[in-house]
């Protein structure tokens, strides 16, 4: 008898998820391991599939608006903005300037809220427990502004096709200013906790490297792309909702490892505050709703609008057949595309890095599965 026992097997197949807390939802990753080394991965998605694109075909344009909030539920406002812009393009109208300014403020506030949740959970996955408490504490302030503005904290349904439904409340500008002033020292505080910490640096440096060329091959967008050194931000490249009026930098780094993505997102939060400060000082007066009829019935045609969501390029492709319901509504979610690069990033790495890389991709499974 050959003395081969099960202990001699060099390859081990391990299921990570769908209940694993570090997969940020219901992602299942099948890992092929040789000891601690990852030989290959396979992602199984679809546990959170709700058929949002199919739902769109059975709802009117206005009725589908609350559903888009439920895709990337961490950045619901950005989703709403993308959908509203797509339908507005289809209707060939534009939101009034006041609505655009308020939209920019709320979208940037949502970017901060989304990045804060990413930072907290990412650090928690790596093993730093403290930042999650601080991040959620500051995120709470942002959510309070959402609650005061539109009545909901997470799935906001803040924007309507053609502009805004809600006028800003009394003290909205002051709340935004207070948030900006409060927030910048807090970002410094997170950086003090993490940026130079030797465990943090050791766990993140040179982990999950994705070069600029590979990013382009996979179609990866957002902070992951910018960390690889590509200066690509849709807010600058094809400005929407009046972003051309505001001054801000696109933070980039060179290596494209997990540590660089962390630094890019931290800098993005500061730039968001910068945009909010400029926007809140220059909210124009005027109407908040464009000329949209009670029944939204676009002419036959199609429209594609992509915006820079916190996670990357978020696109909405809406086809109209002239009725009150979209013929087809296709979503290009950033998380789904970014997730495809996971195998390239962790192949050859260690099993402990899998958690770090999933965290740094900043995926939301509601958006991946739709």
């Amino acid at each position: 008898m050959a003395d081969i026992t099960f202990l001699d097997s060099t390859e081990l197949v391990l299921n990570m998820g769908p209940q694993h807390p570090s997969t940020h939802g219901v992602l299942r990753v099948i890992l092929k391991l040789d000891g601690e080394k990852v030989l290959g991965t396979e992602c199984i998605i679809g546990y959170l599939h709700r058929g949002v694109e199919k739902i769109a075909e059975h709802r009117t344009y206005a009725q589908f608006n609350p559903y888009v909030d439920r895709m990337d539920y961490v950045a619901a406002v950005s989703n709403g903005l993308g959908y509203c812009l797509a339908v507005e393009k289809l209707l060939n109208i534009e939101a009034p300037p006041r609505a655009q300014a308020v939209r920019v403020i709320l979208t940037e506030l949502n970017r901060i809220a989304s990045h804060l949740l990413w930072l907290g959970t990412h650090a928690l996955d790596i093993g730093a427990i403290t930042p999650v408490f601080y991040c959620l504490r500051e995120r709470e302030e942002a959510l309070k502004i959402f609650e005061k503005y539109c009545g909901a904290r997470l799935t906001t349904h803040a924007f309507r096709i053609g502009g805004l439904l809600y006028e800003t409340y009394d003290g909205f500008e002051q709340d935004i200013r207070d948030f900006c002033n409060m927030f910048i020292p807090k970002v410094d505080e997170y950086e003090e906790l993490l940026t130079n910490n030797r465990i943090w640096v050791g766990r993140l440096k040179n982990v999950g490297i994705l070069s600029a060329d590979e990013c382009k091959e996979y179609g990866v967008t957002g902070p992951v792309l910018r960390a690889a050194g590509v200066k690509w931000d849709l807010r600058k490249a094809q400005p929407y909702s009046g972003y051309e009026k505001y001054e801000f930098e696109i933070p980039t780094r060179e290596t494209g490892d997990t540590y660089d993505r962390y630094l890019v997102r931290m800098e993005e939060m500061r730039q968001s505050v910068r945009i909010m400060r400029q926007a809140v000082e220059a909210i124009p007066q005027g109407p908040i709703m464009g000329k949209v009829g009670k029944v939204i019935k676009p002419a036959i045609g199609e429209a594609y609008v992509s915006i820079e969501a916190p996670k990357g390029e978020l696109g909405y492709y809406v086809v109209s057949d002239g009725s009150t319901q979209p013929y087809r509504c296709r979503v290009r979610p950033p998380s789904f595309v970014n997730l495809q690069a996971l195998d390239r990033m962790i192949r050859g790495g260690l099993i402990a890095d899998v958690v770090a890389v999933i965290g740094t991709l900043d995926i939301v499974l509601g958006e991946v599965d739709r």
Partner: protein, 158 residues
């Protein structure tokens, strides 16, 4: 020279665990009681915003106690989940349409607020009540009486 100096500074920082103490100093600063954000929920009830979209309510006219609803069915048409059912009957004496029953399935509601936008007479409204838990699924389907009275959650005092 500067290179060597940098190396020495870095080595010293690494030996004396400067980065770790820097982080500990942040956590120490945050011990200040003014940074405590815990809400003592059942004892201290949170104040939700004025525009909060919570439990639905069917408003009644405070003067005569009659419902404001004109049974126009616009809320049922606006609802993406079609969870509102309005039934009406014609009053033979006044020849006007009057509201019969009004059911609202809160278990399927996503509180988007489209129904209150659609209401032409401000009869249907999403209120600041947020405690809507029940022990049965049937209890989640609210009829006209429930919608007019609103939920009555148990309030605890500590």
């Amino acid at each position: 020279m500067a290179n060597l100096q940098n190396k020495i500074v870095r080595a010293a920082k690494s030996i004396f665990l400067v980065d770790l103490f820097q982080g500990l100093w942040v956590t120490f600063r945050n011990q200040n009681p003014k940074y405590i954000y815990t809400e003592q929920y059942p004892a201290e009830r949170p104040k939700v915003a004025e525009r909060y979209r919570g439990a639905p309510r069917l408003n009644i006219n405070p003067d005569n106690g009659e419902t404001l609803c004109i049974a126009c069915n616009l809320c049922a048409l606006a609802c993406p989940e079609t969870l509102i059912v309005v039934s009406s009957e014609r009053n033979e004496v006044t020849k006007r349409k009057e509201l019969g029953n009004f059911t609202y399935d809160t278990s399927r509601c996503m509180f988007c607020g489209l129904c209150e936008d659609a209401c032409p007479v401000d009869a249907l409204e999403l209120t600041q009540d947020f405690e809507m838990a029940t022990y049965t699924r049937e209890g989640q389907i609210w009829d006209r009486q429930m919608l007019e009275e609103g939920p009555k959650p148990t309030q605890y005092k500590c």
